[in-house]
Symmetry: none
Subunit: 164 residues, 2 copies
Amino acid sequence: MFLSRNTNTLDAKGRVSVPADFRAVVGADLASGVSDFDGIVVWPSFDGAYLEGGGMALLRDYQALLENMDPYDDARIAFERAIFAESRRLSFDANGRVSLPKELAEYAELNGQVTFIGLGRRFEIWNPTKYEAQSANARRMARENRHRLRLASRVNAPRDGGAS
Amino acid sequence: MFLSRNTNTLDAKGRVSVPADFRAVVGADLASGVSDFDGIVVWPSFDGAYLEGGGMALLRDYQALLENMDPYDDARIAFERAIFAESRRLSFDANGRVSLPKELAEYAELNGQVTFIGLGRRFEIWNPTKYEAQSANARRMARENRHRLRLASRVNAPRDGGAS
DNA sequence: TTGTATCCCATGAATTCCCATGCTATCCCT
DNA sequence: AGGGATAGCATGGGAATTCATGGGATACAA
C-alpha cells in the first residue's frame, strides 16, 4: 500500500529517487510473483497537471476493470488510450532512482523537486508547490466531511452504513 | 482492540516505545495474516493537534471504505490526501520502539513525553498536557450524553452475563 | 560530434540495528 | 505467605546500514 508523502530532487539528468517505501511496495509484488518488473509505471493524469503511477499490479487491476466494460464503449477506449497508451515503464537503477521522461516532467511542470504522494493502491507525482494548495484544501475538506468517514462495524455490520 | 492510556518518553533520537498492549494488537494481525507489516501507521489528525494511528488492518478498512465512494468525489480525494498521503509507516525496532518523524512530532507538539490513547480500532497520540484538558472535557460530555449509551441487544447472548 | 540513456562508484546524512541497563510485575519454590 | 528467581518492558547509547544525491564513464543513436 502506497503511503506517505515524500519530496525528492530531480537532477540535471532527469533522475529522481523513488521513496524507499514505494520501492518496497512494488518489490513485494515482484517477490510474490504478482509482477515481473522491478520498477514503476507512470502516466499523465487526465484530471490535472500531475502524474499518476503504481506498480504493475495496479495496471493489471485497471486492465481487469476495463475488460469488464463493453469493448466498443467509447469510455473504455478513451481510458485505454489515456492510461495504457500514455504510460511509461520506469525501472529502478541500482540506487532506486528512475529517469523521468521529459514529456512527463513537462506535463506535470516538474523541475528541481518532485513530490510523491502515496494514495493506497496508487500514487501521484506533483510539483511540490502545486501540491501545497491541494493539500491544505484537502485537509479542510476532510475535516468538513469527517462524518462520512464512518467505518462499518466489524462485529454486527448494520445494514445502512448510513452517512445521513 | 486498542485500550487504555499510556505515557512514554520520546528520546533525543525521536524514538518512543509503543505500549506493549498496542504491539500485541498489531502483532495479532500479523500472525493471522491480516497484515504483513510489523508496526503502526500514524498520521496527523485533521481535527486537531494530535496524531491518529492504527495497524495496517485499520488502513485497509479505510481503503475499503474509500474505494466504495465515487473515484472523483471531492471528499474521497480529500480523505485520501489527508490520511494516506500524510501517514507514515513506523516499524518496531527490536525493543518495540518506533521513531517518530520530526514533522509528526512537531505537528502534535510532542517533546519529552507522549501519551498513547487506545480508542478501540484506532488510537491517538497526544502531548500529555494537552490531553489532560481534553480528557476532563470528555468525561463531562460523556456524563451529559449518558442516556445515549445504550447497548444493542446481542442476538446470541453469550453465557457470561457478566456485569463485572 | 552531440545529445541521451545506463551503469558504476563515492559521500554525507539520516535512520535503523544491536547491545546493555534498571525497573516492575509475575512466577515458582519452600 | 515469604522471598528469591525470572521474564517482560521501557530506556540509553554506540555502531552499522540504508537512503538520497552527485558525478564520471560507457554505450548508442541522431
